[in-house]
């Protein structure tokens, strides 16, 4: 019944962004994941929209503590669209908002995870790690600069989403797919490059057949340099495809196999 007259200001956006950037996942738990975080980021704004101690506010607070989980790089896009609706429709928009949150958290989680949790750390992390292993910390600082750029992007998207509203979902989808596609291409390319540089292990096995000693590593190098690292990665990739295999198990299997092969004198650093 109460249609709010409150309009969000620049200050409100700043407050939401601050809360999102510094605290969003503090309350993460198995039961409702980012539920309480979602409420916390917009609580002051909800109080302004619905007014303190009204039954509407209580109802809407309960709505926003429900299960929610998405990429913490895209959460404020959903927040922005949500607030645009609540500001216009008040408590009447409750159903729309719940549906919107449930419908968008999945897709945004997928895109956000693949770009911000997998690709950027891969590319910059690999650069930083590569330099670090050679004793040079510069790559770490390049990565920090890149993350600052990401933070600016995260800061800007809230107001953008608030202004565009619902229509944003459809317009963005196409561009994001093309971008994700290009980004995954770069990721795959970089993994190829990393396999060729970062796994420093070679065959030390040199069987003697009659008078001839077979230098395994040299023979392989003549076919293609770095064949052993490529084979190892291929093997682990295949192993990860098996049922009941987790990355942690895979790490330990590799550990044990390497120690065994090294003890037998097959491979060395």
């Amino acid at each position: 019944m109460t249609k709010s007259n409150y309009k969000l200001t620049k200050e409100d956006f700043k407050q939401i962004n601050r809360r999102s950037l510094f605290t969003f996942q503090l309350g993460w738990n198995y039961e409702r994941m980012q539920g309480s975080g979602y409420l916390y980021t917009i609580l002051p704004q909800l109080r302004k929209i619905y007014g303190d101690d009204t039954p509407e506010l209580k109802e809407v607070m309960k709505t926003h503590t429900q299960f929610f989980n998405t990429s913490n790089f895209f959460n404020t896009i959903i927040t922005g669209i949500d607030l645009a609706i609540e500001e216009k429709e008040g408590i009447g928009g409750k159903q729309t908002v719940s549906g919107l949150k449930a419908g968008m958290m999945g897709p945004f989680a997928a895109i956000g995870d693949s770009i911000f949790a997998a690709l950027i750390p891969t590319i910059f992390g690999a650069l930083a790690a590569n330099m670090a292993i050679n004793g040079n910390p510069t790559g770490i600082f390049i990565w920090i600069v890149a993350q600052i750029a990401v933070m600016i992007f995260r800061w800007k998207q809230l107001e953008f989403a608030y202004r565009e509203g619902i229509s944003l979902v459809t317009t963005m989808q196409h561009r994001l797919t093309a971008l994700t596609d290009a980004a995954t291409l770069l990721g795959v390319f970089m993994v190829g490059a990393l396999v060729a540089t970062m796994i420093n292990v070679k065959f030390s096995w040199a069987p003697s057949i009659g008078d001839v000693t077979l230098n395994m590593q040299n023979n392989l190098d003549m076919i293609l340099p770095r064949l052993l690292p490529a084979g190892i990665v291929g093997g682990v990739y295949w192993m990860l495809g098996k049922k009941n295999m987790t990355s942690t198990k895979a790490i330990f299997i590799v550990l044990v196999v390497c120690v065994a092969l090294s003890a037998l004198g097959v491979i060395s650093k």
Binding site: M33, S36, G135, Q147, F189, R226
Partner: protein, 299 residues
């Protein structure tokens, strides 16, 4: 050399900070490679820290927190491995396999514990919503930081303060009676990044982009060999010719990344030229149903 009290303090504080950074602002100060830089600086051996941090970074390259699954805690592993490696004079690569990896995977249990503990605060918030206690809601939400931080700080502190003796004995054995095991662990430390790469490939659409995987690998393998041999040659010549002044550096990875970036940009432009191509829809489906995807990273 012992680990001094202020070193323990700084490393413990960082252990508590890094998880909050990773959950929220994600400034890359929570990356294993930075943990290595920080621990290396605190312990007074930057190089050891960078080697351990860099290797752990590569090992967990593909292990993001997808959908709230716990991942191995490479940061705590890096902190402890660096501290002990420097303090006890352990070979960094051995420290990766002998300390960093086991510690990192044990810490998964504590991550799970922290996530459970936070359920308690979520229920308090439910009650406070009923009472319309706004300050209480905010306070109880922010207290969620405690389980997160403490789940890292307590084990790191205990290990740094009391684990030294045990690790010292292990190091002595690895360099003495069990030399084969010590050497094996060093080799394992060098191979572990392979797991990181393989996990990453599981998450990326390899089948779709496989030509680029081959391209990236072959290009780098060939250039890498050329650069390494040049360096060897340079060192060899320098030792024979007195006033030889040529300096050869290793293959710059940034250059390789730029080639990859150019390829990605070309593909993006091509994708933009055909608007409303039916492709996107199909990709989504095939990505999701890719057989053998890792469902979660818990033990």
């Amino acid at each position: 050399m012992d680990i001094l009290w202020w070193q323990i303090l700084l490393l413990t504080l960082y252990a508590g900070y890094q998880i909050l950074d990773e959950l929220q602002i994600y400034s890359s100060l929570s990356a294993p490679v930075f943990a290595g830089l920080f621990a290396g600086l605190v312990m007074g051996d930057l190089k050891a820290g960078l080697i351990i941090g860099g290797s752990m970074q590569l090992t967990v390259l593909g292990v993001g927190t997808f959908g709230g699954a716990s991942k191995i805690d490479a940061n705590s592993g890096t902190i402890l491995a660096t501290a002990f490696s420097v303090a006890l004079g352990m070979n960094p690569e051995q420290a990766i396999a002998a300390i960093a990896v086991p510690v990192a995977s044990l810490m998964i249990q504590l991550d799970i514990l922290a996530r459970f503990a936070n359920t308690f605060f979520a229920h308090r918030i439910d009650k406070l919503v009923d009472e319309m206690n706004y300050k209480g809601i905010e306070r109880n939400f922010l207290m969620g930081a405690l389980p997160w931080s403490l789940s890292r700080m307590i084990p790191v502190f205990l290990a740094l303060a009391f684990g030294g003796g045990l690790v010292e004995k292990v190091v002595a054995v690895l360099n003495g009676d069990l030399k084969w095991l010590g050497d094996g662990l060093s080799v394992a430390g060098a191979v572990l990044p392979a797991v990181g790469f393989a996990i990453l490939l599981r998450y990326l659409p390899v089948k779709k982009h496989f030509p680029y995987l081959i391209l990236g690998f072959t290009l780098t393998a060939l250039l890498g060999t050329v650069f390494t041999n040049m360096q060897l040659l340079g060192t060899g010549v320098a030792s024979v010719v007195k006033d030889f002044s040529g300096i050869f550096n290793a293959l710059p990875m940034l250059a390789i990344a730029l080639i990859g970036f150019a390829l990605a940009a070309i593909s993006y432009k091509n994708g933009q030229m055909i608007p409303n191509a039916p492709a996107p829809k199909k990709d989504d489906a095939s990505n999701d149903s890719d057989e053998g995807e890792i469902e979660d990273d818990e033990i």
